[in-house]
């Protein structure tokens, strides 16, 4: 990207977004993209006087990410959208739709992100291998 991209970590999400707010940046939105089987990229987009700045957070898919809706209330919709479409969870959301912003309650899949479901994390015992020749 042409604009400045600042990498951040889980520990600095709230601090960095708070710093952007203190510097007078407008929260524009967040974008997320699946990187590979384990990780998701989250970009926080900000604007000040038509110049954009982005924060990049790369996390494991099973991570709970601190919600920035306590800093920028406007983030609540996009964080709920990411919960719906990517399955990533945000803690401390101002309004948590619990994955029903777009999706119906019975839908457990994540349209824009693939998760590997194994017997182990389903809580079932591993299936016995079929007997040879059966």
């Amino acid at each position: 990207m042409r604009e400045e991209v600042i990498p951040i970590s889980l520990d600095t999400v709230i601090g960095e977004t708070g710093r952007m707010k203190a510097e007078g940046y407008r929260f524009v939105t967040m974008s997320s993209a699946e990187l590979d089987a384990e990780r998701i990229d989250i970009l926080y987009h900000f604007d000040k006087n038509l110049t954009m700045k982005h924060l990049r957070l790369t996390v494991a898919k099973d991570t709970q990410v601190p919600s920035i809706s306590s800093v920028y209330l406007a983030a609540l919709l996009v964080e709920n959208e990411i919960q719906d479409l990517f399955g990533l969870r945000f803690k401390g959301l101002a309004i948590d739709f619990n994955r029903t912003l777009y999706l119906d309650e019975e839908i457990k899949t994540t349209p824009l992100c693939r998760y590997t479901v194994t017997q182990a994390n389903k809580g079932d015992a591993a299936p016995k291998p079929a007997a040879e020749g059966s």
């Binding site: 993209a33 970009l43 209330l73």
Partner: protein
């Protein structure tokens, strides 16, 4: 004795052109809290990048919104052009300005009509929509369709305007401008209109900025932010100043859109006066690779596309942030303290486009 009640507003409501739901907590007739809910027209269009290549996606993004189809394609192509380092021919840039401002004009006329309808001014609604028909006719005559104006390709545009067509557009816009001005005293000075809009749904400049509002909703609160100041397309050669009002209420947002409708006509005239001869599109080679954020001013405000390519014909990710998505949090501030009877007018005042928002 006052009692607290929760009233559902929408998703199906006579005043709403598209379905959005609000859970309104009220004390007697006064709103104390508003919680928005979405999901009634979510189509999952972003996921189509997995099966449609980046050229086919132009037709998909044109269908994100029926009111500003051309602008969605324009911001998408603009992002890909930046990513693929494609220089768009000057004539194509001017043609993009012409069609995008015609889109803004018919969108604002549509909204002015719907807004009049929201406070029960039926004849004003019909007057604005009658004028809008002329702009739709221009779209149809020049691009083949009234709504889905499919003119953008990566590298430029696929349609041209002949000198005769440009003269005809200019002559049509004379009539459109006269008719819009004829309605100015009614929409801006009428006692009934002011009674329903002045002091309703106020958002201060500081609140609007902090909530991340965009477009006429932001400019109606006194913040002179307009993505056209980025000088995309041919805006670097066109005189342009954002329309700003400072009161932050429904009336201010109406004034912004009304004045912007007239400004669109001026911008089209400037573009037609300055359009150079030349090619319509640059030949594009290669596949999109990398990340880009593309922004443009849609009739409702800043439209943002995040595009991620991997050097293949299918994109890795396309994220669309529409202006209404950014403006919905405004309702959390605008509605509390207002009467229940003001809700339709205030909701309409952000010009909600829900099919855009949910994609």
């Amino acid at each position: 004795m006052a009692s607290r009640t929760i009233i559902p507003f929408g998703p199906q409501h006579p005043v709403l052109p598209e379905p959005v739901h609000l859970k309104l907590s009220v004390d007697d007739e006064v709103i104390t809290e508003a919680i928005p809910a979405l999901g009634y027209v979510h189509r999952g269009l972003e996921k189509l990048v997995e099966i449609r290549d980046y050229n086919q996606m132009i037709q998909v993004v044109e269908r994100v919104c029926g009111i500003c189809s051309m602008i969605h394609a324009m911001v998408f192509c603009q992002g890909l052009e930046e990513m693929m380092d494609v220089e768009v021919p000057p004539r194509a840039k001017y043609l993009r300005v012409i069609w995008s401002e015609l889109h803004r004009l018919h969108s604002h006329l549509l909204w002015l009509g719907l807004f009049a309808d929201a406070f029960g001014f039926e004849s004003l609604f019909m007057q604005f929509w009658k004028i809008r028909e002329k702009v739709m006719d221009i779209n149809e005559a020049t691009a083949g369709n009234r709504i889905i104006v499919s003119v953008n390709v990566v590298g430029g545009v696929r349609r041209d305007l002949t000198p005769e067509q440009m003269r005809w557009i200019l002559s049509e816009l004379v009539g459109v401008e006269q008719e819009i001005k004829r309605l100015e005293t009614t929409i801006l000075d009428d006692y009934t209109v002011k009674k329903r809009t002045v002091g309703k749904g106020v958002v201060t400049a500081a609140q609007a900025y902090e909530l991340g509002l965009v477009g006429p909703t932001l400019r109606g609160s006194g913040v002179a932010q307009d993505t056209r100041l980025l000088k995309y397309a041919a805006f670097d050669a066109i005189d342009f100043e954002p329309v700003v009002e400072s009161e932050g209420d429904c009336y201010a947002r109406t004034k912004v859109r009304f004045r912007e409708a007239l400004q669109c006509i001026d911008l089209v005239r400037q573009a037609i006066a300055k359009i150079p001869e030349g090619e319509l599109a640059t030949k594009v080679r290669g596949k999109p690779e990398g990340e880009v954020v593309s922004r443009i001013e849609q009739p409702r405000g800043e439209l943002l596309y995040y595009i991620k390519g991997n050097g293949k014909k299918n994109l890795d990710r396309l994220r669309i942030r529409t202006p209404t998505f950014a403006n919905i949090p405004a309702l959390l501030v605008m509605l509390p303290g207002m009467y229940l009877s003001d809700v339709p007018v205030i909701v309409l005042s952000i010009d909600p486009c829900i099919s855009c928002t949910e994609r």
